[in-house]
Point group: C2
Chain length 125, copies 2
DNA sequence: GGCGTATTCAACCAATAGGTTGACTCACTG
DNA sequence: CAGTGAGTCAACCTATTGGTTGAATACGCC
């Protein structure tokens, strides 16, 4: 799973990971600090952090034996952009449809429109 | 995996599924239409659609034997809200930190700041 | 009623994800 | 230098995911 967007979305698809992100908005934290509230092993949390790091959501520095985890919300922009783009396009299309339906109220008086989209030559397989 | 946010993020973590969403912003489409460009089986695409539907990204109506798939970008709002919230908080915290660092330039004249974050009483365990 | 088209259901398979435990490394501390 | 605390690595297990093929279902059309 190479592409950044896939990794980013996948990283946030886990509630524990989202919770970690939420807590990191308050302050950087060490692995053990982050692990404390959850009833999974430290290693499991370490794995979660690796996933987050790999997705670019988080960076880890070194401070003696600590590995302070720091949130890097840049990737969020990428996701937001994707979401915004298609949310908006879907919305615009909806508007356009409304407009269209408002435009031809006498063309097709009472019948339901047969197809929203033309058959567009399916491959007969 | 019950919670809506997890389902939504997971649904978009797959490039094929994101592509389907992208194409649905242009127009509703049937399963076979959607499946055409990919070199996976129709059934695989059907499964993808089930995932998207389950995540609330897509709705399916019935038109004879067709099952036209329609994008419902409402869930995107939920995701965007989550992302925005933490993106912003992270940003704010960053600003606050800058401010703080700008405030005490003579307290610690040349030494590197020992800790970005105070030790904040680790549980000694 | 029988045929073809559109789609789903079911069983199966390989790879991945999320979790576990145990051993190891690394850096401070006494 | 021995001990301790913080993390990671490795091997393993189970459930889920994304894919497959083959059979079943649901409509519309001669």
């Amino acid at each position: 799973m190479a592409d950044p967007l896939s990794k980013a979305f996948a990283a946030l698809a886990d509630p524990t990971r989202r919770d970690i992100v939420a807590r990191l908005t308050m302050a950087d934290a060490t692995v053990s600090e982050l692990a404390a509230p959850y009833d999974v092993s430290l290693q499991a949390v370490s794995k979660h952090l690796k996933v987050l790091e790999d997705a670019g959501v988080v960076t880890r520095s070194r401070d003696a034996q600590r590995r302070p985890v720091h949130l890097d919300a840049q990737v969020f922009d990428l996701m937001t952009k994707w979401l915004e783009r298609y949310r908006q396009q879907a919305h615009e299309r909806y508007e356009r449809l409304d407009e269209l339906l408002a435009d031809l109220p006498d063309d097709v008086p009472t019948e339901p429109p047969p197809h929203t989209h033309p058959p567009e030559q399916r491959t007969p397989r």
